[in-house]
Symmetry: C3
Subunit: 211 residues, 3 copies
């Protein structure tokens, strides 16, 4: 695959992830009965916050979502569509979960790849990929007054970290980025689907009796 | 108007906004029965957090509130005054709402202007103005265990964004900053007053029935 | 004391603080019944978040916890140990409070010292030391859906600020850093112990009657 095609694929995945997370953020705003503006704000925050945190931490300042206006445009259009069609969207729970898993997978691999390009240690790059994937959802839940779903959902942050690890390993073996990126995203989606449909989960701590 | 006078006006507006938000933050601390130190901490956080987030995102690092000590001094003095006079301040609800609207308006226009000076796209600059205005209140509410008021209040974040948009438009038409800054701040205060006294609000989403 | 020995002592204090906070974060995850991964995530966040906020605000980007991998390793190992031994750890409440006070003291002095080295004003450096000490706990509590303990606990943030003030004063008097660092950490621990065992606290605001 030529370099141009790879760059285009990475770009497309990034756009898709932005749409998926903007819709997911906007739906939370609709459920919480925020007004139109609050809904658009959540759509924007959820779709760019993870990437912004990553960019600040890896030293890519100003963050991409500040300098490239298309993130804002995509998020606002997705938020508007969600606001007006929420009554329909709500009937497609499975599709929403699939979109969310897709966004998680895409952001995790794209985020890891960007951190590697900025010279961050591969282990921390995988973590940055995870933050890119779960950061928006964490902020969405904190702003909605809830304990972040992403910290408790079955194999959620872990799936994002695995995706990042695949990309980091691919870099260590000097593979062209697009293959580990696709493989990592696939692994992340697989883990989330197994968690949703087959109840896969990470070990729980033993209950504590101290009261 | 000469450049010096313009700079002095912008500086004065920034100080006024800092006082307004420090008092608003300190009052929340008093209501939640934080101790003296917690009250001062909230006064400081609410008055500088929005600007700090903006500065980090536009690449103005370290943020102004780190390098210019007067923000800290103003916030602590305002917090102290609030701590000791809270029993009086609480009787002036309308004055407090007015001060809060003033702080919102001033921070939104000053924040937008700063982002423009750092070469940020006008659309994102207006958003950064909004973040400057609502950031402190968002963090205040999250730290107090509540869903941010600024995301649900009638025309709150929207009023700040409108103020930023006026400043960004003024920049596009190459007006001297002080005029759109004053016009934007006026528009923001007008919108907030209409929301408070006449119940103006943004459209709400249709209720969702999915349980 | 030679420079090397001083540097080693500062480094050791930083490691100890990281362990103390990683264990404290992991215990919260265990109590909230997060899974293994959530527990490790909280261990990492609580131990590095304060330092990351400080580093971003003083312009030390990427933050040390991004570029030096040992923070990650220490946090994960401490989190793993806590996950498996939580049933034992829970019986040592006093030890946990002592460890937490130790972490607070160490992070406050090390954080202040780093801010001073980056040319930040001494007053703001002391504040940055406080943020280093309380930042992780603030984020831990917000992510767990609670009002931050660090803002309400008796002499918690204040003890950290006092520690930072001692380091900042030492710098003003051009003392070699290691002495004010140890003195500041000692003062912080003393204040926390007095708060825990003798109920020392900061003044409370008068109750507000407005409903």
């Amino acid at each position: 695959m030529g370099y141009d095609l790879q760059a285009i694929i990475l770009e497309l995945l990034d756009w898709l992830g932005t749409i998926a997370f903007a819709v997911s953020g906007a739906m939370v705003g609709v459920r919480k009965r925020f007004d139109l503006f609050g809904v658009l704000f959540l759509a924007f925050v959820v779709s760019v916050a993870g990437g912004m945190i990553r960019d600040v931490l890896i030293g890519a300042i100003p963050p991409a979502a500040m300098t490239e206006i298309h993130y804002f445009v995509i998020a606002v259009l997705s938020g508007l569509a969600t606001f007006f069609w929420s009554a329909h969207i709500v009937h497609y729970q499975r599709l929403m979960q699939f979109l969310d898993a897709l966004g998680l997978a895409l952001f995790a691999v794209v985020g890891t790849q960007k951190a590697i390009q900025f010279g961050i240690h591969p282990v921390m790059s995988a973590l940055m990929g995870m933050i890119t994937g779960i950061g928006g959802g964490m902020i969405r839940d904190v702003l909605s007054g809830e304990i972040p779903f992403v910290l408790r959902a079955d194999l959620y942050a872990l799936a994002a970290l695995m995706a990042g690890a695949v990309v980091a390993l691919g870099h260590a073996f000097q593979l062209p980025p697009v293959y580990p990126v696709l493989a990592g995203a696939g692994l992340c989606m697989f883990l989330r689907m197994m968690a949703i449909f087959h109840g896969w989960r990470a070990p729980l701590p033993r209950p504590i009796h101290d009261e």
